[in-house]
């Protein structure tokens, strides 16, 4: 059987630690590629070896394909795990890996490209009979945008062709908005992705974000591991994720999973991936959004209800092993919920808040999982994203998982930096959240309006 004996982790923070731990379980030697500021981090302490790849700025370190490859070759690593973000969805990395005889833990470069272009992915889904949100191909300019918007009906969503992760999206509510918003969205897309091309979609107001976890091997076996509901977002950034979705009917679930599988089969997808859908709660219909060709931040909720270690599976599949379970052998048990704990000041527009953590009193116990690289005394550097920890609770049902989360959030004490813990405490008490009556814009449109009242109001 094929085996990887050493692996370079091309990432930082909690996901670097997560990958190192998975490797330890597989008795794989780990080498961490760390920027100068991450050289003393927790993953750096736990990895078998640390290689300093450059200064803190990601463009000078974590985003340099050549440097990552050299770090792997120079340390004798056989494989590279990119985690999420940074180089995870850059086809240049798997290409360079192939050139240097390294194993890339992820899909093929070609599959990343096929799904990376959102318009071609949308077309592929359409060809497979998977519903896509009524909208356009590439929009050539403002006059065409206006004509198409008229056809599909306002409000419309302008999206970046090269986009993803919610960046480069804007709503135009009426024709008068279009002129300004079209220019803004194009400029934003250009700044974020180096590609200003846009397309249009009808805006669905009462929507939920539901995504299907996929896993495929190189022998053509592809399975799904159920859905995650990630509707609780702020500015298209996920804040809370849960599995299973509290609103999906059995029939709709089967349909969505089937759609995800057919797309994955179409490109003979290999390794872990996620197919994202939008669920229109008014119409009871779902639409394909995009496919992410990497492990996702919120993968622990799937692990909690399936008992499958996705990162471990990723590594074994990349080594050339077949999937170790069939679709029938995957059983979903109970309910899991994840809160993203970020270093952000939630009362001041979620402004990032780097600095030194002086107190980190993390909860422990049955049904509680905390993925984090933080500890008392850790300095949160200002160069990267603000995710400090993913707090996950499990219960036999949603009520139990939510109750456990509420208790655990009360006990979670962090000082030195501001975190999103107070926001999550507030969210968990909200009756609409408890009943599951929410949509993708609910946090922004409704909850934050109540939350942003001065704090003393809540103390009274």
């Amino acid at each position: 059987m094929k085996r990887i004996s050493s692996l370079l982790v091309a990432n930082r923070s909690e996901i670097a630690l997560r990958i190192i731990r998975a490797c330890q379980g597989l008795r794989i030697r780990t080498i961490l590629a760390a920027s100068e500021v991450d050289r003393e981090s927790l993953p750096a302490k736990i990895a078998d070896r640390v290689v300093c790849i450059g200064p803190p700025a990601p463009t000078e370190s974590y985003l340099k394909v050549g440097t990552i490859i050299m770090a792997a070759v120079g340390t004798g690593a056989e494989a590279i795990h990119p985690g999420y973000g940074f180089l995870a969805e850059q086809p240049e990395l798997p290409e360079a890996c192939a050139q240097y005889g390294l194993i890339f833990v992820g899909p093929k470069a070609e599959q990343i490209r096929q799904m990376g272009d959102k318009i071609s992915a949308r077309q592929m889904a359409k060809n497979l009979g998977i519903p896509v949100i009524p909208g356009s191909e590439l929009v050539q300019g403002l006059p065409e945008a206006l004509a198409i918007a008229e056809m599909i009906g306002y409000p419309v969503l302008l999206k970046a062709a090269a986009g993803g992760g919610g960046r480069g999206m804007k709503i135009a509510r009426q024709p008068e908005d279009m002129k300004i918003i079209f220019a803004e969205a194009s400029a934003e897309a250009h700044a974020a992705f180096g590609d200003g091309r846009l397309y249009l979609e009808r805006f669905i107001p009462n929507a939920r974000h539901v995504e299907i976890q996929i896993m495929g091997d190189r022998f053509g076996h592809i399975v799904h591991l159920g859905e995650r509901d990630c509707s609780l977002q702020r500015r298209y950034q996920k804040m809370v994720e849960e599995a299973p979705s509290p609103v999906l009917s059995a029939d709709l679930r089967a349909e969505i999973c089937q759609a995800a599988l057919s797309l994955a089969h179409q490109i003979q997808y290999e390794n872990a991936g996620t197919v994202e859908f939008l669920l229109d709660q008014d119409e009871g219909r779902f639409y394909f959004l995009e496919m992410n060709t990497r492990i996702q931040v919120e993968h622990p909720v799937t692990e909690m209800i399936t008992g499958i270690d996705l990162v471990k599976e990723q590594i074994q599949i990349a080594a050339g092993q077949p999937l170790r379970f069939t679709q029938e052998e995957i059983h979903l048990k109970g309910h899991a919920i994840e809160c993203r704990i970020n270093a952000e000041y939630s009362h001041r527009g979620f402004q990032p808040c780097p600095g030194r953590i002086t107190q980190w009193n993390a909860p422990q116990g049955v049904g509680i999982r905390l993925d984090t690289h933080c500890y008392p005394g850790y300095f949160v550097p200002p160069f990267y994203d603000s995710l400090l920890a993913k707090l996950v609770t499990w219960g036999n049902n949603r009520r139990e998982a939510v109750a456990r989360m509420e208790k655990v959030l009360e006990d979670f004490q962090v000082s030195g930096v501001d975190t999103t813990i107070p926001f999550h405490r507030f969210l968990l008490k909200n009756p609409n959240f408890i009943q599951g009556v929410i949509h993708t814009r609910w946090i922004e449109d409704i909850l934050l309006k109540e939350y942003e009242q001065p704090e003393r109001d809540h103390l009274c």
Binding site: V51, G54, M70, G74
Partner: protein
């Protein structure tokens, strides 16, 4: 509260360096830091760092163009946290404390002492170098980057091995600096 370590100061300096601000003052009960990007004189920078709790003699850190915060030409450091000093020494490798100037790798890559295979090495131990003399090549995926000495002096030690990977900021050479008046670092205020 833990006291502020040397690493913290380096990080603060880096933040200042990358910011749009020219000057930074931090003062707490037992700590005072004043940093300027463009101080008096010929663009020299000066940093005063004091830990009032410390009664020990001032410790002078080696300074050079290759120091961790590249734009700083004068650093005075008084510090009581021995843990930070140990960490710093480990980073700098042995020679730095013996008055030698390290030439550090500007990037991760493969270290070559020769301009091309079979050619004589750029430098040997005892070679004299000027600031602009090439001392080695670092290869990153077929891209060859020439590293210059950056300082006038004599090569005292070659610290990296031909054909091996070097990390970012790894010490490649130790140089014994020529002690001419103009080369001396500006004396910092007591």
């Amino acid at each position: 509260m833990t006291s502020i370590t040397q690493d913290d100061v380096l990080l603060i300096l880096k933040l200042l360096d990358e910011s749009n601000f020219d000057e930074l003052h931090i003062e707490t009960e037992d700590f005072k830091l004043l940093a300027r990007k463009h101080g008096k004189g010929k663009g020299l920078e000066e940093v005063v760092f004091e830990d009032k709790k410390s009664s020990r003699a001032p410790r002078i850190e080696p300074t050079s163009a290759e120091s961790q915060v590249p734009n700083l030409s004068s650093v005075k450091f008084t510090e009581s946290d021995s843990r930070a000093q140990v960490a710093k020494q480990a980073l700098d490798h042995s020679g730095a404390t013996a008055g030698l100037i390290p030439i550090k790798a500007p990037m991760l890559g493969t270290f070559y002492r020769t301009p091309k295979p079979g050619a004589p090495p750029y430098v040997e131990v005892e070679s004299w170098v000027n600031e602009d003399d090439p001392v080695c090549i670092i290869e990153v995926m077929k891209l060859f980057n020439t590293v210059k000495a950056g300082v006038r002096g004599r090569i005292a030690q070659i610290c990296a091995e031909q054909g091996q990977m070097v990390e970012f900021q790894q010490t490649l050479f130790l140089i014994e600096k020529i002690h001419e008046e103009k080369d001396l670092p500006k004396a910092s205020r007591a």
